[in-house]
Symmetry: C2
Subunit: 390 residues, 2 copies
């Protein structure tokens, strides 16, 4: 087991009606609130009115910053930072999924950024000095942004989508009933995101970090069990609650404690797809993950033991032929994604080979992906993208 640091200061209120903690959570930090949200689904569901009623009744001053994109853009960060400065904001309240929370983290840090161009903060590690406090109300089980310090921001002019560390939410209100109205497509894509986070952490060369690996296998199994229920019965509380609770831990870093780290190769490759084609993050990950798995298993059979463990402990498969078992686990994962109804080829998304070389080069900038579970070079990445076509 390797050394690790655990440092997650976020307080989570989980369950039905936990919005009752909203006013007290914000008031710790002040009374002037920037309310961030996405394309308006919270207005349709009535959550917007509920939040505004609470904030109004409790005497908060609210400045709105809606319309944050599914792959949030640097322009939204710039807009939010300007609003914070103009209105002397004390605390940001993000109501939405990972995109809104990610963008809000970048806004929170952007207020204190000392450079001229906020994209420089997104693209470098040293621009984040401190951040405004952030409270969120989660409406999608997917990215885990409610329980980590990172965010991913896109610059469509540069075709770049980059992750960075900004700030942890001070408080996350996680009420599974707010996900009852999430579409089948977004529910499946969000669960693919959760599963992909765990894949990036589970597939490690370290064999003996029991707690981290046990959490990984628990998350895999819970996702597999609960996604079909949530798709069939969108208002099944237990299924939605399990998906929400595993989403928070999946991206927290805890599932990789004590294990040799990876550089999250599927996320790197997916960020290029989203940066060039603005596709749904979880769909890109679902398409990439099984192809990445088959590619590395063929490239480096010394990693097969991990896939055998995945097949046995996650999918309950058995058999003496370990190579067959390793591939069978991957097949089961791909079938699981396919049965959830999301596109499972790049061709279905209208994506061809035209940018593969450029995307591979950027995903692997500075030789980043040689630090993967199995080292990848540009050619490997192009091969994986190509395998995703059909």
């Amino acid at each position: 087991m390797l050394n690790f640091t655990h440092n997650i200061p976020t307080r989570i209120y989980f369950g039905r009606g936990q919005i009752s903690h909203l006013a007290e959570s914000l008031r710790e930090f002040g009374t002037r609130v920037l309310l961030t949200y996405g394309g308006g689904s919270i207005i349709k569901t009535g959550l917007y009115d509920r939040v505004m009623d609470i904030l109004s009744d409790e005497g908060f001053t609210v400045i709105e910053c809606g319309g944050i994109e599914p792959n949030p853009r640097i322009e939204s960060v710039e807009r939010g930072v300007a609003l914070c400065k103009e209105h002397d904001i004390d605390v940001i309240l993000a109501v939405g999924g990972g995109s809104t929370i990610d963008c809000s983290k970048a806004i929170a840090a952007g207020v204190y950024f000392e450079g001229d161009d906020l994209w420089d903060m997104v693209a470098t590690r040293h621009g984040v000095l401190k951040a405004l406090p952030l409270v969120d109300i989660l409406t999608l089980s997917a990215t885990g942004s409610e329980y980590d310090g990172g965010g991913v921001i896109s610059n469509m002019k540069l075709n770049q989508k980059l992750g960075n560390g900004y700030t942890f939410p001070a408080v996350s209100i996680c009420d599974p009933t707010y996900t009852f109205t999430v579409s089948k497509y977004q529910t499946a894509a969000g669960t693919a995101d959760i599963i992909s986070h765990i894949c990036e952490e589970y597939f490690s060369r370290t064999p003996d970090s029991d707690l981290a690996d046990g959490i990984c296998e628990t998350v895999f199994k819970s996702a597999i069990r609960n996604l079909p229920i949530a798709l069939a019965e969108p208002d099944n509380y237990e299924a939605r609650a399990n998906l929400m609770s595993i989403s928070s831990i999946a991206c927290s870093g805890i599932p990789s404690y004590g294990k040799q780290g990876s550089c999250w190769p599927c996320h790197s490759m997916e960020h290029e797809l989203s940066a060039f084609y603005d596709i749904t993050h979880g769909v890109g990950l679902a398409i990439l993950t099984p192809r990445w798995m088959r590619h590395i298993l063929k490239k480096d059979p010394t990693c097969a033991w991990r896939f055998v463990r995945f097949a046995r402990n996650v999918w309950g498969l058995d058999g003496d032929d370990e190579t067959a078992l390793a591939f069978a686990g991957i097949d089961r994962l791909e079938s699981f994604f396919r049965e959830s109804g999301i596109p499972m080829t790049l061709s279905e998304l209208g994506i061809g080979t035209e940018h593969f070389a450029k995307m591979a080069a950027h995903a692997n900038r500075g030789g980043l992906l040689k630090n993967s579970f199995v080292a990848l070079d540009d050619e490997d990445i192009i091969r994986i993208y190509t395998d995703c076509l059909n």
Copy 2:
């Protein structure tokens, strides 16, 4: 799944050499340090010298408060509080196991206690107002005090041992190498404590909190796998590291998130044993737990499904006769404890029936244990104590 709040602010530095973070961790809070420790094992192992060298090199002022008992006494809390007040202490550094850390938490809160008698703070919920910051260096994998806010203090004059919430450590330094010198007896007793924490949380009527139950089963299996290795090879880093990492999560409350809570009946019953006989906490728990399990399984067979799950998922047992399976899982747990070499009957500890009625009445004060997984009355508790005799 039921509602829960997650709020654990402790930062953990886990692994070899993490004492390198000691000075920076203390300096956040000041320069005047109360150093608390137990019976001197840290002097024998050299850890005391290592700590003092760091504190001296880094310019800290150190006041010592050694000699904290294995079941820490109210007198040690009083002594520590007096030292903090006399020397204007900024931060407490606890070096030891759960007893030292528990006592240090009570000292940290005791500094701000406004009453005359510190036992009143221990015995009530409302006496804890705030606390001095606490940093700890863990030397025993057992109580999980390094990652929770509670502590248990004994008053031998009153034959009382009471838990309360005081404060979370700000920082816990968890270096598994510091447990290489822990005796076989204390290693086994500490692991029994870890397993008992999980039993108190796993045995719940709520069937669908996947993450919490998955963490419980992971901790059980890791304890079962690693204790024999640590007993056979005391300096096996991987075994010691796994035991240390599971100890922290076992008592954190996380394994019961979303589940119907219990009132920790084995801990209540054990606290009476320690209060009357000053026995090792983990040994008392190991003796009580399988007897408690058999008693409640006979008393209320509607809880059998949980024991069947325990037998299957933890011990890998199988069979069609679910009653037999449920009891077989308990037998395996008892055998596991017995094979670790600790006493498994009260008679071996020289404990007879003389105080059972009084102990049962106090363990169940206010009808506390009717809120257990299976409700217990005084007669049940006396029966369980009696079953522990041989």
